[in-house]
């Protein structure tokens, strides 16, 4: 009986931790790729100084598209 409870609690904690990890991983995927006319590509990832300046209008655009 006790073992069953412990197993259930363990499973619940594990799935919650997994969900948080997945969410964090998805958030860390936020990135911007800029293509310039000389053929160069600049990737701006989360944590870069310029990222927030670019990610906020992008989020706004996505939210506007989805209504």
């Amino acid at each position: 009986m006790r073992a069953g409870k412990a197993l259930a609690v363990g499973a619940a904690v594990g799935s919650a931790a997994g969900a948080i990890l997945l969410r964090r991983r998805a958030r860390s995927r936020d990135r911007v790729e800029l293509y310039f006319d000389d053929g160069s590509l600049v990737t701006v990832g989360k944590g870069d100084a310029a990222a927030d300046r670019l990610l906020s209008p992008a989020r706004e655009l996505l939210a506007a598209a989805r209504g």
Partner: protein
């Protein structure tokens, strides 16, 4: 305008990844969109701001950009004097989306501003009537050798 709307309709038809798209000019005026006017205006404003800020990153001219976000992706592509902004689901095929957006912009750019005047029709060439002498088949009666 109608040509742009047709191009956008074709875009959403051929690309299942694109959820919404808007074509705007460099001032942010909506030319055509796949969403209602209110949403299109908000999308255009955000796209122009995003493109402007992104263009400040380097001295070079920005051609296109994509932003991968948690709930989907955002694309902006620039043509000579137009921009197209589109949104997709998460993790789209980036190259394919860029290709479709560029094709859409190109097809809008290729649309003739006004219908070219039809060429004046040439007068039909006069038909020469040549009279060919009919070859007559005459049957001559053999002269009667006796007569």
């Amino acid at each position: 305008m109608a040509q742009t709307a047709d191009a956008l309709a074709h875009l959403t038809e051929i690309s299942s990844q694109i959820d919404a798209a808007v074509v705007l000019d460099k001032e942010g005026t909506v030319v055509a969109a796949t969403v209602d006017d209110e949403r299109a205006g908000r999308m255009a404003g955000a796209a122009l701001e995003l493109f402007r800020r992104a263009g400040e990153q380097r001295g070079q001219e920005l051609v296109q950009l994509d932003v991968a976000l948690e709930g989907g992706s955002v694309f902006v592509v620039r043509d000579a004097d137009r921009l197209i902004a589109a949104t997709t689901r998460s993790e789209p095929t980036v190259g394919l989306v860029f290709y479709d957006l560029k094709s859409c912009l190109r097809s809008i750019g290729e649309a003739p501003a006004e219908k070219p005047k039809p060429k004046p029709k040439r007068a039909p060439a006069k038909r020469r009537t040549t009279t060919t002498p009919r070859s007559r088949t005459t049957t001559r009666k053999k002269k009667d050798e006796s007569g």
